[in-house]
């Protein structure tokens, strides 16, 4: 398993996309941090470090998802799955290693993004002659943000392996995020349902949302989604042959 984890890490490191996404994460987060501080200064609102640290979370989660989809579905799209399985024919292990490395990369992207937003925000505030009123960082929320990025990446790897198409997998994520999450509670006439969706549970882990689940429950539910999707991906990967 160690060799497979090392292989998946080398795969990730040797693709330009990995570095481009990481650079994009830093640049986008810095821009978000800068904008958040400028908006707060313009609105004469107090600046809180904890709030600043959480600003790039959604964007970083999305980047973590896209990277993981590329790692999973990309194997089929570029037909590298054949050589992958020739070198490591045990499919379950390949999926496990791929998910673990994508999860680690997803968490790292979130961490990088958070750091970039905080640094950019601090520099912007200092340049504007404004100081932060709240300098406490919620380490629990920070850990939650990183963990959600990692779990979303694991989930997206599974989705990529199921769909075997990057466009289909990213399309499904966007459809769910912007349509499914919104209309499902309305369709089922159950407003409390939003607490249980992936977005709702992610919000609970970073301290946002109305009546969120307890963090431990949110972590459990979110992890269950990842386990279910990866379980389905494993079942299909074991049954369906690569093209």
């Amino acid at each position: 398993m160690t060799a497979l984890l090392s292989t998946e890490t080398v795969k990730l490191r040797t693709l330009p996309t990995t570095w481009i996404v990481a650079a994009l994460a830093v640049a986008a987060s810095a821009a978000i941090g800068f904008a958040a501080v400028r908006i707060s200064i313009g609105a004469h609102e107090p600046l809180h470090l904890a709030a600043l640290a959480g600003t790039p979370a959604q964007a970083m989660w999305f980047l973590a998802i896209v990277s993981a989809v590329l790692a999973g579905a990309g194997e089929f799209q570029h037909r590298t799955i054949r050589t992958t399985l020739l070198a490591a024919p045990r499919r379950g292990r390949v999926l496990a290693a791929k998910s673990a490395v994508a999860g680690a990369y997803g968490g790292l992207l979130v961490l990088l993004g958070t750091a970039a937003a905080v640094v950019a925000g601090l520099i912007t505030a200092a340049a504007s002659g404004v100081s932060f009123t709240g300098s406490d960082v919620s380490w629990a929320h920070l850990a939650g943000t990183v963990a959600v990025g990692a779990v979303f990446a694991v989930l997206a790897t599974g989705l990529g392996m199921i769909t075997r198409s990057t466009a289909l997998a990213v399309g499904a994520v966007l459809l769910w995020r912007f349509v499914g999450e919104g209309i499902l509670p309305a369709l089922l006439h159950h407003d409390g349902l939003t607490r249980w969706t992936p977005d709702g549970t992610a919000g609970a882990l970073i301290g946002i949302g109305d009546h969120p689940l307890a963090p431990w429950a949110a972590a459990l539910v979110l992890s269950s989604y990842a386990v279910a999707i990866c379980g389905l991906a494993a079942a299909l990967f074991l049954r369906r042959d690569p093209a």
Partner: protein
Amino acid sequence: MPRIELAHLTKRYGAVTAVDDLSFSLEPGSITGFVGANGAGKSTTLRMLLGLTRPTSGTATIDGRPYADLPDPTRAVGALTAPDVFHPGRTGRNALRVLARPAGITDRWVDELLELVDLTGAARRRVGGYSTGMRQRLGLAAALLGDPPTLILDEPANGLDPLGIAWLRRLLRDLADQGRTLLVSSHQLAELAQTVDGLILIDHGRLVARGTTTDLLARHQSASLEELFLDLVSNGTRP
């Protein structure tokens, strides 16, 4: 024990039978040509042998085990399935390093193989910029990564120019002379005739003929492999 053994191997896709009760075995130290018309079931057979496609029934083993059960597959079998199995964004060298990692193969050996297939100069270029012939050479280097005793090559001459084909012929002969077992599928019958020791001819997924090239030509009173092929597989109709 035979290096490669197929026993009653069958693959059906719905109503279509791609490989039909195919059985044969190969002993060490020979190059065997695997011949058939388009759609005869060659690639499906090779993919089943390599664990990439699940058989409907029957078994395909290498050194007595299914591919997935080989303890160190890269060192047991080298395979070339198609030239377009490398990520276009990765360099040639990194494409091999990725495959070398699970078997613990060193970067130095990767570099030696790149030299063997004449890709040292292009090793740090992205595979997306390679010609078909270069990708085919990279695929051959990937097949040789584990210095395996068995090689399974699907259309290895595809995309190679005449110089490349001559180089491939010498390479295959050298590999067989080292005692390795080679199973080589090809459409290029004239080229194959100069390279292989024995032939396995399939049609509609079934074994049609098997033997050494000389014996088969004599038995069917054919002047060339092409004539033999046309005689046995006439317009897709099995004799």
